[in-house]
């Protein structure tokens, strides 16, 4: 029967638990942030009667203005 190297297994467990926790926290944070901002945006757009396409146009104009500022 193969001898179990307990010390190596402990290191392995610490490494994997750290990475699984890291992956889970990162994924959770990003998904929650995405949902939250989607809801906030929908609420703001609803309140002013703007649909998504119009809002995108506004966003593109804003980005274009920001880019133009750089060349001034």
């Amino acid at each position: 029967m193969e001898e179990i190297n307990l010390e190596g297994t402990v290191y392995l467990t610490v490494a994997y638990l750290g990475m699984i926790a890291g992956l889970a926290i990162w994924t959770w944070t990003v998904v929650v942030r995405s949902r939250s901002i989607e809801q906030r945006l929908a609420a703001v757009e609803d309140s002013i009667g703007l649909d998504a396409e119009q809002a995108d146009n506004v966003a593109e104009q804003s980005v274009a203005e920001t880019s133009d500022d750089a060349t001034d």
């Binding site: 190596g8 290191y11 990475m19 890291g22 992956l23 990003v30 901002i37 506004v58 966003a59």
Partner: protein, 234 residues
């Protein structure tokens, strides 16, 4: 359906990563106890290598995004830059963390300041940390974007340097085990298969993350401009 592609990629990638974990622990063969100080800890390899691989993909996206913003003023380029920095940081930290734990088990020290590969990869991860924290602490604007894009462009120099480091100066970090160019780096087929599943899974996962991150940046820009128009600024 189309709008949920990033979440689907995240789910598929995560399942693949968990499969890699299972196969790496239960199916992949053990390494020779004569070749390693800590053969059990060597199984970290099945996550360490794919996470480093995913980090390099993310650094590549960061470079492309930085170039697109800096030279073309592309809003898509800026979104790629933001997604690339966050993904680089996460994957870089995973690779550094798993490497440190393996180093502690195998070498008796988590870090070797004389090893070029460790230090260049550590610097890349620190660069990603600087870009993520810097962007969060600065107001968004052209100057800010230009500054961070410049760091993204010049920082990429460290990527090829990291890649060739163990080929030129092999100090502590093991040399290449795949695509080594000779028989010295060959792996058993089961090990290669688990590594391949890990690399594919991390790739799918990181693409999912970057797509979500790009969506968030896009939504933030939209929210900001709608709020501006509400304030009468437009």
């Amino acid at each position: 359906m189309r709008g949920r592609v990033p979440e689907m990629l995240l789910g598929v990638g995560f399942l693949g990563i968990m499969t890699t974990l299972y196969l790496g622990l239960n199916w992949a063969p053990s390494v020779s106890i004569n070749a390693f100080e800590s053969p059990a800890a060597q199984r970290i390899f099945y996550w360490h290598v794919p996470s480093a691989w995913a980090a390099f993909i993310a650094f590549g996206v960061l470079f492309v995004g930085s170039a697109l913003w800096f030279f073309k003023r592309s809003p898509m380029g800026w979104r790629l830059h933001v997604a690339g920095t966050e993904a680089s940081l996460a994957c870089g930290l995973m690779a550094v963390w798993s490497g440190c734990v393996w180093g502690a088990a195998e070498w008796g020290t988590p870090w070797d300041w004389t090893d070029v590969r460790l230090n260049t990869f550590g610097l890349l991860t620190l660069l990603a940390l600087f870009l993520v924290l810097g962007r969060q602490s600065q107001p968004d604007g052209v100057e800010t974007r230009d500054t961070f894009s410049t760091f993204g462009l010049f920082g990429f120099v460290l990527v090829p340097l990291t890649y060739i480091a163990t080929r030129i100066w092999q100090i502590r970090h093991p040399g290449p085990v795949i695509a080594a160019g000779d028989d010295s780096g060959s792996l058993q087929s089961e090990m290669s298969l688990v590594l391949l599943i890990g690399a594919l899974s991390f790739t799918v996962f990181i693409i999912g993350h970057m797509l979500i991150s790009m969506r968030i940046t896009h939504l933030e820009q939209r929210l900001e401009s709608v709020q501006k128009s509400l304030d009468g600024g437009n």
